[in-house]
Assembly symmetry: C2
Homo-oligomer: 409 residues x 2
């Protein structure tokens, strides 16, 4: 039998308001918002004043509230709310990816300790039900990889930049105005946001808890006009790709921009859409596409979590129990275009396998199989740009193809 | 706690063999095949003789067998197996779409009567977990439509015909050799197979049990060279689209070929891939892409059902309980290209709203909003071809766009 739920909401921004309206329109679900905790006492709000409170205890200590829905921006505060809510016997639904990614293993144990559920489908790729699918459907398929476009605002920016030849700043501003971008744009353009999501996805895909700081993230903020020109000439798109694969019990993960050929389904993912591609040994490639950002898509994912709580759903983290355990590692290499100003200390010897080089107008490209440790080092350098090659698959490079590719830069 | 399952298998064709190998490679799942019932006594089989039997009672009456996995071609025999298995206290996993589609309401009641589960994810779009998603994830979103490419072999044929300018017969032969096509090709090319899948999807999407014969299916067998030429000139693909939408509590469903513009994500679905697009009020469009046919993709879906039975999963058919109940109807119209030989009795008055006409070399096109009843009538006539317009959305037509479209036929 389905339960009737009483909700306490933290935050009434873009997603919170989306959720409120989705809930209003959804008559099949028996869940009502009793209180909304907000911070700003001055702000005008579109709903009755009685619904709002500035006191978090009014929700956390209310025994009538079964579920705390946490949708605030501040990861530290969000984690405190989550812990107190669980301790007080409440389930938690959250979409704060940074907090979840940073504390996932602890959240995993807290759920067992307090016998309560924490659900966070809205935190990973908005409306795409990827966590639930990884949990429920791909548990026995031999999943070998997960990759995709995990960040709506950078994809929006890259789409605009390519299709409308817009400048960066303008496209970013537009993404923010439309509510796709995080309030701190560095989270998006420097690829922290998709990294947090990848961290969470890895736990459900491969049963490994990784610290976000252990995953290398390379943003789109260093993409140059030369990169764009090169991509256009080749008919490539540039996409910010989050990816994790499993090879012999090791999980390798990385978020980085990549040249993407027209035949790659990810090249067709436009604007704020997200996409997740799963590679299984038998089901072969599965692609999920949906809106990854915005109030309604995320609100709708949060709603699905609330709905799942009406029948006591919990993530099982099944793969954490499977033996032998997988282990995260950065001891790997990938085929990469490295662009740098002449004078930077990038040399052929820096590549595990050097494939081709090209220089013009004070700019230089080198292409080759590159170790993650090198990528991490270069990512710190303002004058070095990194874009993965279209063939980058974490596997051996295909030198012929790449040389040919460089031929017409 | 997860159960250990003992399986009895009916059929050892393409999917059965795929399942066998998937199961061999999947160590996390505790399920073993005890017996396989086959028909042909002469056929050489790649496994130990002891595993096979020609007597269905050896499985149906074996108390050790928990789950009957039914993967045979004969819908009537399959339904008898299903009923006996349930009566004898066994769960059933099946991929026989015709049988499921024709008996779905009865299967729904039989599960309640015998308190056993019948799962059939492998029956709808192979490896795409669409039923489970409709059941688990979209239960509270306001789902308004489902459409997609539900048949791998016709999509393979259409892809080959378009990309390699192959003839029909040749492409069909190739699809059969690769194991994508049904043994009776009419099930595919006359669109019965995708209709069966749509019937099943409608039950899980909208809570309505429809008889397959109530859904109009128009195949790809009457597509002509002129249609192909027209599509090529316009940069369209032709895809066989299964679609159901909800409008004011009525469900309208149809399977028919359609001109598809390059911007439509379904136009990029190639070869034996299937795709399902869901339209929700808040999550907006969700696209699922995966292999829809072949032994491993279907075997992998069947495996997921077996896995789900280890934790007593059942379809809840949640939407059948939601009020007000939806109702299936054919009292609707859709924008259609009708091609016919001059002399056929197709007239402007046959259209709910006539938009444009064109004639050349004894062939004639008329385009307009067309009632389903007319489509059904025309579908019987060998000399009349029917292809839905790119804008066909079950909504009002856009005459301007269509006239412009016809301008350059």
């Amino acid at each position: 039998m389905r339960k009737t739920l009483t909700l306490g909401l933290f935050g009434f921004g873009c997603v919170g308001q989306g959720l409120y309206h989705v809930l209003e329109e959804t008559h099949g679900l028996k869940a009502t918002i009793k209180k909304i905790v907000v911070k700003n006492k001055e702000k005008q709000r579109p709903l009755s004043k009685n619904l709002f409170t500035f006191d978090k205890e009014a929700v956390l200590n209310d025994p009538e509230i079964d579920v705390v829905v946490e949708l605030i921006d501040d990861a530290n505060a969000a984690f405190e709310i989550l812990k107190t809510a669980l301790k007080n016997g409440k389930h938690v639904v959250t979409a704060t990816k940074k907090m979840i990614a940073e504390h996932l293993e602890e959240i995993f144990y807290l759920q067992q300790q307090y016998d309560r559920s924490v659900l966070y489908e809205g935190a990973v790729c908005g409306s795409i039900p990827i966590l639930r699918n990884l949990e429920e459907y791909y548990d026995n398929d031999l999943l070998t990889g997960i990759e995709g476009i995990f960040n709506g605002s950078t994809n929006y920016i890259l789409t605009k930049v390519f299709e409308e030849k817009k400048g960066y700043a303008e496209a970013l501003k537009q993404a923010q105005d439309l509510g796709f971008a995080e309030s701190d744009p560095r989270l998006d353009v420097q690829a922290f946001d998709p990294k947090f999501k990848l961290t969470i996805a890895i736990a459900h895909a491969f049963g490994v808890f990784v610290k976000p700081e252990d995953i290398i993230n390379i943003g789109i903020d260093k993409i140059s006009d030369l990169d764009l020109k090169f991509a256009r000439e080749k008919g490539y798109a540039i996409k910010l790709i989050a990816r994790a694969i499993r090879v012999d019990g090791k999980i390798y993960g990385l978020v980085a921009p990549q040249f993407v050929e027209a035949e790659n389904p990810l090249s067709n993912i436009r604007l704020e859409y997200n996409a997740v591609q799963l590679q299984g040994a038998f089901a072969d490639k599965q692609l999920f596409v949906g809106k990854g950002a915005g109030s309604y898509p995320t609100g709708s994912a949060v709603l699905s979590d609330i709905s799942a709580l009406t029948y006591d759903y919990r993530y099982e983290y099944k793969k954490t129990h499977q033996l032998p355990r997988n282990e995260f590692s950065n001891d790997w290499s990938i085929e990469t275009f490295v662009r740098f100003t002449q004078g930077e200390k990038v040399s052929i010897r820096d590549f595990e396998k050097f494939e081709a080089g090209y220089a013009a107008n004070g700019q230089q490209y080198m292409v080759g199989q590159t170790e993650f440790s090198k990528l991490k080092e270069w990512a710190q350098n303002e004058n070095i740009g990194i874009i993965l090659a279209p063939q980058a698959t974490f596997k051996a490079a295909q030198p012929a193809a790449v040389s040919e590719l460089l031929h017409t830069v």
